[in-house]
């Protein structure tokens, strides 16, 4: 399954060195894509205006807490807990949320934000 750079949308294969080092555009956040899912999402997200997308991004950063996101570390995401269809419309995957999996917010096609402290909290639990 390929990985896509969040910033420039370039798609890399599983073994690509860019996934470990960072994309040529400087982006270090990738998401794992399932082709079938991508097609579905394309339809809803192409309808969003630039203003909508900006608003969604701001909303998500506020939901997660801006200070929590370390943009220097590559992060690979392979599922979603929360989908934002457009500003003010949210879909929550309760099964993921209840299972205490890391929180991932979908901004738009190819753009996700992950709640890192939740993820690291889980790692800690596992080690203990």
């Amino acid at each position: 399954m390929p990985h896509q750079c969040v910033r420039c949308n370039t798609i890399y294969d599983d073994t690509a060195k860019e996934i470990l080092k960072g994309c040529n555009c400087g982006g270090k956040l990738f998401f794992y894509i399932k082709k079938k899912r991508l097609e579905e999402l394309k339809e809803t997200t192409t309808k969003l205006t630039k203003k909508d997308k900006k608003q969604i991004e701001e909303d998500v950063l506020e939901l997660v807490g801006k200070e929590k996101i370390d943009q220097d570390q590559p992060v690979i995401l392979d599922f979603e807990s929360i989908r934002i269809l457009k500003p003010g419309q949210y879909e929550l995957d309760l099964v993921h949320l209840f299972k205490k999996q890391p929180l991932v917010y979908k901004l738009e096609e190819g753009k996700y934000v992950i709640d890192l402290p939740v993820t690291f909290g889980q790692e800690k639990e596992r080690i203990e």
Partner: protein, 210 residues
């Protein structure tokens, strides 16, 4: 193995606190089921003051609310707990629903965002809970994704649960359907708004947490 041990430790820990009488009691459920109305009823009955505001528009409670040190008495026994009222759990939050309920767009979008955060917080807080009261609207279909996921998860976490069938004062109320949906639980039918059958509720609470 680790999970099994963890569960035993959790249960011992929970029992220890139970004996001390400091149970953390959470109110959970879908939006507009009457969690805050019930919280207000409990607080008014035992503290003489209300806990939070209620509204006909869903997602009125968007932040965790805590009332500490509530002491209730029944049949000569006393139970002390901290009451935690949580935001309603939903799978979809749409600002357009709030607009349809008469809200302005900016306010509706803000409410949707806060409600989403509320769902995440409510789920995060589950770890802290020792007893959970699931408040369901008995006029609504109990077989919803929220109800099934939530109750299934509480079971998996071994948290003692009391299911409340609220709004029995309404004509459409169907407690039987709710009982059929969750046969493994004791279900108390009440009207949190008017206090119908509230003594029965306190008795069940004692049985579960006392």
């Amino acid at each position: 193995m680790v999970n099994w041990l963890q569960r035993i430790i959790n249960r011992l820990f929970r029992n220890f606190f139970k004996k001390k009488g400091h149970v953390k009691l959470g109110l959970y459920g879908p939006p507009n089921g009457g969690k805050t109305t019930l919280a207000n009823r409990i607080c008014k009955d035992w503290l003489g003051e209300e806990m939070g505001s209620v509204s006909n528009i869903a997602h009125e409670t968007r932040e965790i609310q805590i009332k500490e040190e509530i002491h209730i008495k029944s049949d000569g026994k006393e139970l002390s707990f901290n009451l935690v009222d949580t935001p309603g759990i939903a799978t979809k939050i749409d600002y357009e629903d709030f607009i349809n309920a008469g809200m302005k767009e900016t306010k509706a979008k803000k409410r949707a965002k806060e409600a989403t955060k509320g769902v995440i917080d409510a789920i995060k807080w589950l770890d802290e809970m020792e007893v959970v009261i699931v408040v369901l609207d008995s006029t609504k279909n109990p077989y919803s994704q929220v109800n099934i996921t939530m109750i299934g998860n509480l079971e998996a976490r071994n948290i003692p649960v009391l299911v409340v069938a609220n709004k029995v004062d309404l004509k459409k109320s169907n407690v039987k359907k709710l009982e059929a949906a969750f046969p493994q639980y004791e279900i108390v039918a009440i009207s949190a708004k008017y206090g119908d059958n509230i003594d029965e509720f306190y008795k069940s609470l004692f049985k579960l947490a006392g």
